[in-house]
Amino acid sequence: MKFNKFGMGLSRRGFLRSSATMAGATAVASTFGVQANAADKTIKIGFLAPLTGPVSAWGKPGLSGCEIWAEQVNAAGGIKLSDGDYQVEFVGYDNEYDPAKARTGATKLIREDGVSFIMMLGGDTWPGAQPVADKTGMLFSTLLPSDLAPDTQTLLAPVEVHPIYNVTGVQWMAETYPNLKTAVMCAQDDALGLPSVATYLAAFEAAGIEMLDDPLLFDPATTDFAPVVTKLISNNPDVVCLDTCYSDYVHPIAEQLFQQGYKGQIISCTADFYDQMIAKTSKEFMEGFIFQFPDFDDPALNSDQINFKDPNGFFAEYNKRFPGEWGAVSWEYAAVMDLWKAAAEKAGTADPEAVLAAMKEGGKGKHAFGEADWWGKDLFGIDNALVGDWPVVVIEDGKATIKGFGNIPEWYDKHGDLLKKHMAAYDQMWDQRG
């Protein structure tokens, strides 16, 4: 209750006043010769994501990636602001993918830990943190731009444009395999699954692939996927789409597809721990599986357009420290931090408002996969998603391989109306979300 009361009671002005007082006190201390060493000056960054529970695969590996990022940045001298160099430290808070815990965590990170920026997975947890963001003016990031709305100016989607990038996989598949004409889809019925369903429907329609049935929605508590798969393959589809199912679902669904004798194409947003899927099915069965998240040892990531620093080295270090845990989000929060660090150094301060302005200056940004635009007004009501190219990944001979990069704004220019139509049908437009 205390946290809630504080969350409602602390106004944006009050928060900024407190911050200004803190900054003033720091300046006075400096004036009187209380000079801190670089090692003593620390900027704290909040990591508010599911670290336990069924969705933890899209939180915990990201925090592990951030630890590597922080060590590398700190070893290189830290974050260089106008008043000196700062070490960076991550403060994790496990929201268990629960909106109420996200709210408590956001309040705690701001009030007790004094963080300068909060990274979230978003989705079902964003409505919990949103009132805190609105009251305090704190800068937040989400991996899910479907959280964006003009009500909250300080929420950014600077790396992952879920689910819009899924259109690149479908486009590549349709161009590469023009004989694929029919598809079916399943998804969990939640804030991650539904916008992705709308996106895949738009992408299939744009590619001329017919849906044989309505998307099959299942409860997130489902454990036995045999009935789901029986239904999916009953009409002999050319393509089975696994939408943005959590890895806890992708694995058993893939295994069921294997056991029930499916031999067609599979496309999915993610294929975390795909080596385990191969072990449960076969290398032949998984050959050609299309998804959207590369291993960072892929040679395609060494091209000049990639802004993520030393992806191969990051991948090697990650696997050395956290063997077998590389997943879709392992690099993403670190990529968010690259953008935040560049903006903070440009602004010369960690102040949320100044960092936000620096980050969006000129309407362009250095996305992990290349130059990108701050985009989204048409779809999210606000240009707070950094959108450009996204990789299409295919499992070949048991290994994830980037087959190319698709440009999302280009697709949207041609087929945006389809996307808006399907988003609206699933109540996923920003002005429909309650």
């Binding site: 409860d219 009935p227 239904k231 058993p252």
Partner: protein
């Protein structure tokens, strides 16, 4: 369409099998001890982790790991009986709250011991029985069906043909009268907890290669198990088995012909209808409900 119906029927038989094992264990514990064991889903999880530890990590044979899972979770049941349910025998609400606490302890233990990630359990076999192009049954799912039939038959024989089974049923019907006949309530409670927990453990162990094993996997089965025991009649073993079959058939067919969300709603509606028509469940009696 015939193939679709047959495949869905096979799916329903599998679902009914593992759900029966879990629900019967839950009913047995309630029937003898009068305690709603909220940690029952976590006992199922503990069985699955026994297979992760012994079969996936230490490479023991699968059947050894399953047997160890049964034994380990049965012993966990004895621990619960001795440290929680017996001291709180006169306070059923206290037992319920204690079981919620134990649920959290088990989740935390699994998280500390194995981490929060989904565990990879290699398939026992990739063999599939092919009845026709679109009617197939994976052999590991057949193992679950066979195990459920064998274990539930053994339980029925134990309860109806042995002195310990009679004592158990007597304690369930009227603990005070049973005690006056010289039946040890502590002993029947221990047997009920060991068998009830062990059934959940073996269900978790057998299905570990077929589901996503994580510390929170118990949540998903306990809801279905509660629906089943309410529909079947709280305290009725026959009711639990029949309700597990009915619930699984309805849920599986509705998932296949509509979708999973509608299937969940239908399952809850089934419970609601039974509660309206027969408030004590299909086989329940007023004194236990």
């Amino acid at each position: 369409m015939v193939e679709l119906l047959l495949q869905t029927g096979l799916n329903a038989i599998y679902a009914a099998s593992y759900l029966s094992l879990i629900a019967v264990g839950l009913v047995l514990i309630f029937g003898v001890m009068g305690v709603i064991n909220f940690a029952h889903g976590e006992l199922y999880m503990a069985g699955a982790y026994s297979v992760v530890a012994l079969y996936a990590n230490l490479h023991f044979p699968f059947l050894i790991a399953v047997a160890a899972g049964l034994l380990f979770v049965g012993l966990l049941g004895l621990l619960m009986e001795r440290t929680m349910f017996r001291p709180l025998r006169e306070n059923p609400l206290g037992g319920l709250v204690a079981s919620i606490g134990f649920l959290m302890v088990l989740q935390a233990a699994a998280t500390i011991g194995f981490g929060v990630r989904m565990e990879h359990v290699p398939p026992v076999t990739q063999d599939v029985i092919i009845f026709s192009e679109k009617v197939r049954l994976a052999v590991p799912r057949l193992y679950v069906i066979i195990a459920a039939v064998v274990l539930l038959t053994m339980l029925w024989a134990f309860l109806t043909k042995t002195r310990f089974g009679w004592a158990l049923r007597a304690s369930a019907q009227d603990p005070e009268a049973a005690a006056l006949q010289g039946i040890s309530i502590n002993q029947t409670s221990r047997i009920a907890m060991f068998i009830g927990a062990g059934l959940a453990g073996i269900a978790g162990a057998l299905t570990a290669p077929l589901v996503s094993v994580n510390p929170f996997m118990g949540h998903s089965v306990i809801v279905a198990a509660f629906i089943v025991i309410i529909v079947g009649g709280v305290g009725s073993l026959e009711g639990a088995v029949i309700a597990a079959v009915a619930y699984s058939v309805v849920h599986t067919f509705v998932t296949t012909f509509f979708d999973g969300v509608i299937a969940d709603i239908t399952g809850l509606m089934l419970m609601l209808v039974v509660l309206i028509v027969r408030p004590n469940g299909l086989f329940g009696t007023a004194d236990r409900a």
